[in-house]
């Protein structure tokens, strides 16, 4: 089984690194980690990429092409990041916008409607640490969870398994890592 972890850890938080390790252990062999900071993944879509978006060749960058290939082949996608301003860090937002273009993740049909294209995907999960209370996240809306388990999920097969794990301020990180290990292991 091929699993892909997409991790963004802009402040090098050791807890996020610990989560990535726990996810790797729980997933077993056949796992690959994309550490967006270590790879120096470019956050911002360029003017050339924007112009290419609705053409037959929307990908211009080799780095993006490699990641797109990995996404299309993956059976499991796990996103790991610290929540900042109610959603993923900018680099992860940019990763989705640049990698998941027409032909990857989704396609346009003849009427220009979006159709799902993540045919190999069986499990989709997100693991995050929150910088605000559960109440604040609920009242403003959890942008990361919506983006991954609603917007991205629309492009997965109907029976995809999903999981969401969040660590709120004040909760015990050690217990959280155990929970991550257990839940990701059962995906």
């Amino acid at each position: 089984m091929s699993s892909l972890i997409i991790a963004s850890n802009p402040d090098s938080d050791p807890l996020i690194s610990g989560v990535v390790q726990a996810v790797c252990q729980a997933s077993g062999p056949g796992i690959q980690v994309l550490d967006l900071e270590a790879e120096g993944f470019e956050t911002v879509m360029s003017a050339a990429e924007w112009r290419a978006y609705h053409t037959a060749e929307p990908i211009l960058d080799e780095h993006v092409r490699t990641h797109a290939g990995l996404v299309m082949a993956a059976e499991t996608l796990v996103f790991v990041y610290p929540t900042r301003w109610f959603g993923p860090p900018a680099r992860l937002v940019g990763w989705l916008q640049r990698v998941l273009v027409p032909g990857v993740g989704f396609v346009f049909d003849q009427d220009h409607r979006v159709r799902p294209n993540l045919a190999s995907l069986r499990s989709l999960a997100g693991v995050t640490t929150y910088d605000r209370s559960r109440w604040e996240m609920a009242s403003a809306g959890d942008g990361g969870r919506r983006l991954l388990l609603r917007a991205l999920r629309l492009n997965a097969p109907r029976r995809v398994h999903t999981a969401w794990l969040g660590l709120y301020p004040g909760a015990d990180p050690a217990r959280f890592l155990t929970r991550v290990d257990d839940r990701i292991g059962r995906l």
């Binding site: 911002v44 879509m45 003017a47 112009r51 900018a90 680099r91 940019g94 942008g143 917007a151």
Partner: protein, 155 residues
């Protein structure tokens, strides 16, 4: 007022909408500064003191603002901005409104609910959005641009 604009291309609909926003604001007698996140140097927009309204002009990609906007927010948006009494978003969506509802309207929640928490308590919110752009005709686009300009003039 501060207008925050983000689009990689000057030939885009979003760039045209920025022009309409500024025209409308001028007609309404509002003084507005503009930050263009794609062409200004980082740091140009860091001074938010004295701003009483923020107008966001961007295309919606994957349910929210372009990553360059989130990057600016992550680096610049303060925990407290009590002078801001209006948050206004002008945006376009490729897909229909119902799809965006299902996806959770991430950009709308981020700016009008999340970032608004920094602003004055009874801060006004406006959401001015064109949906279904991928299949919209010229008339729908023009009438949206007219609506944007009218709304700005009347703020």
């Amino acid at each position: 007022m501060l207008v925050i604009h983000a689009h990689p291309s000057t030939e885009s609909l979003t760039a045209h909408l920025l022009g309409r926003v500024l025209k409308g604001l001028a007609a309404g007698g509002h003084e507005a500064g503009t930050v263009d996140l794609y062409s200004d140097r980082p740091g140009d927009a860091n001074d938010l003191s004295g701003v009483d309204a923020v107008v966001w002009v961007y295309p919606t990609w994957w349910s929210g603002p372009p990553a360059i906007v989130k990057s600016w927010i992550d680096q610049n948006w303060p925990a407290s901005l009590p002078g801001v009494q209006a948050m206004i978003v002008v945006t376009t969506h490729g897909s229909p409104r119902w799809v965006n509802r299902v996806e959770g309207e991430v950009g709308r929640a981020l700016i009008l609910r999340g970032l608004r928490r920094s602003c004055r308590r009874h801060c006004r919110r406006r959401w001015i959005a064109l949906y279904n752009l991928d299949r919209a005709n010229r008339r729908a686009i023009t009438s949206f641009a007219d609506r944007v300009e009218r709304t700005m003039a009347r703020l």
